[in-house]
Chain length 343, copies 2
């Protein structure tokens, strides 16, 4: 597989770099002129014919230049590309982002995603942690008026859910505080997924007075577990896709955009990568979903306490600036993990 001689490597790299830049099929003369490889266009032509033979390049039509195939991009990513180190500007922006006062995890990931989109000029996506692995931290009941209660549920890595209840009977002042305190004692440290059962037990022992409320809480927890399904995908920089010449075709674009609007499916795609470590690159046809067959996805998992809690990444055309993207996804997921560690 890696049996390309140095000259072929140089040429494949040149073709790929050029195509990433220009989005135009790259001809032998262009390579000879633009990249000082010390060989003539005719030689390059021969080498390119070989590279096509072995599937790294292809021609969109007989008399056109070459374009890297998915296999070509794969080789480029695995062997040829050097992500390099973040530029000064990149480092500065990343540090700025994380030097802010700490925020609850959701906002933090949201901002990371925004920055990633801004730095790469592609679409940036992230899934925030599922509640599965998180533990109960705190529950607060706030009386809005005698019949309305705001419940705030805080789970482990700074995720906050809230919901308003209407109660049948008004609560006495101080009563909510008592209930909160009681529940907090009972629930502290439990896995979120175990909460329902404990509260159910609680319901059996409770006065009819608080039963309503507990049932409502049960619903909050169920919903907040389910809710993540809805909310856990974060997405930014969708605009950038319109700047890519491969998406001048509005129908192609619509396909991708509707996939993004259907958050759940994209979330699942990202979750497929959440078990692998390091930066993952999935190129074109390597993607299982047909909507992604002409796109590439660069992802990395971020961690907290040694466990992966979510995935962040970049979605763009297969003609993607892999070096830059890989470098940035790597850097941001790394820093994100570091910041989360300190929670």
């Amino acid at each position: 597989m890696s049996n390309l001689n140095e000259r072929k490597k140089h040429i494949l790299r040149a073709v790929t770099d050029d195509y990433i830049d220009t989005a135009e099929p790259v001809g032998s003369r262009t390579i000879a002129r633009r990249y000082k490889l010390g060989i003539s266009s005719a030689t390059i032509r021969n080498e390119m014919a070989d590279l096509e033979e072995s599937g790294y390049l292809y021609q969109p039509h007989t008399s056109a230049g070459r374009i890297p195939s998915d296999k070509g991009y794969r080789y480029y990513v695995d062997v040829l590309v050097d992500p390099g180190i973040p530029t000064q500007d990149e480092t500065k922006k990343i540090n700025q982002l994380f030097s802010h006062q700490k925020e609850a995890m959701e906002k933090l990931v949201r901002r990371s995603t925004k920055l990633l989109a801004e730095l790469t000029d592609y679409i940036s996506v992230a899934v925030i942690p599922e509640h599965q692995n998180s533990t109960f931290r705190h529950l607060q009941l706030v009386s809005l008026d005698p019949y309305n209660v705001l419940a705030i549920l805080v789970v482990d890595p700074g995720i906050v859910e809230n919901k308003i209840f209407v109660t049948e009977k008004p609560f006495l002042p101080g009563e909510l505080e008592r209930i909160s305190a009681h529940l907090n004692k009972k629930l502290r440290g439990l896995k979120v997924e175990d909460l329902s059962r404990t509260i159910l037990a609680e319901i059996r022992d409770s006065s009819p007075m608080t039963r309503d409320l507990l049932e409502a809480l049960l619903e909050l927890i169920d919903e907040s577990l389910a809710d993540t399904d809805d909310e856990m995908l974060i997405c930014d920089g969708v605009i950038h896709i319109l700047d890519q010449p491969e998406f001048q075709d509005i129908d192609k674009t619509k396909l991708v955009l509707s996939m993004i609007e259907n958050r759940q499916s994209l979330a699942n795609i990202l979750l497929d990568f959440s078990s692998s470590s390091g930066v993952q690159v999935s190129i074109g046809e390597e993607n299982l979903r047909p909507e992604l067959k002409e796109m590439s996805l660069v992802t990395a998992t971020y961690y907290r306490g040694g466990h992966s809690v979510g995935t962040i990444g970049v979605l763009g055309p297969t003609r993607m600036s892999y070096g830059r993207v890989i470098r940035l996804v790597e850097e941001i997921s790394f820093v994100l993990s570091e910041v989360l560690e300190s929670f």
Copy 2:
């Protein structure tokens, strides 16, 4: 202005309806065939020439059918269109939306916006209330670990902000609760905009131990006030714009999408309407921003306690299905206001 005879009104309505349907210039024969006005195409031709003369219609080129001008749409909206009453399906969906357990305001508006986009097939936008008019309800400090404190700020119509602090010195157990309780007593019912000053005064009277924390809280409040600037625009159904034939041109589309991505400017546009009551329609050139010159915006304000708290609306091409959109914006803003009232 309203000096159109009945026949001209019928014709203008027919042309507008048809153009809204088909997005193709409407010819006199089409009108004669499709709408039973009891007159021949030649007569219609004469009337259309008159309507063009007075600026209600125009021809994209000499030998094409007519298209309503902005003035034509304006007349259509003001005089001709009948919003009708919501269909069964619409009513059902709206009731379903609001029959859910109550939620904090932000989620409520988010879901309304989603529904509006779904029902109209256009882009739907909303601004959620600024904090200016809202009052302090509750502040909760939760210790995540000895050095990290999660602060949750609840203000009046169910808006919840949260933030994590790192403190210089660890807090003793129970200390945070004491501070929360103290602040809650002091701050209850204050306008959020007055909070900063009050808290500042508070700092002077407090023990040096809590100074860190108070300063951090001050920052939370400042930020949550500022944060609304960033977050207060909600947007849904952007995809739909790609289904409109007028936005097959990718550059036009890009213009609109980048305006939407620049939330602040769109928020400002909506805020311009927030002082007027009832449904507002702003058509094409009537919009001040050049990006909106080919679009129409239908908005309504929603209320709580007699005060306007936000604006919700629909953004689409000037060739918009005004009747349906006006009806739905009206209905949803009305129901939204009702629900908020009960908070």
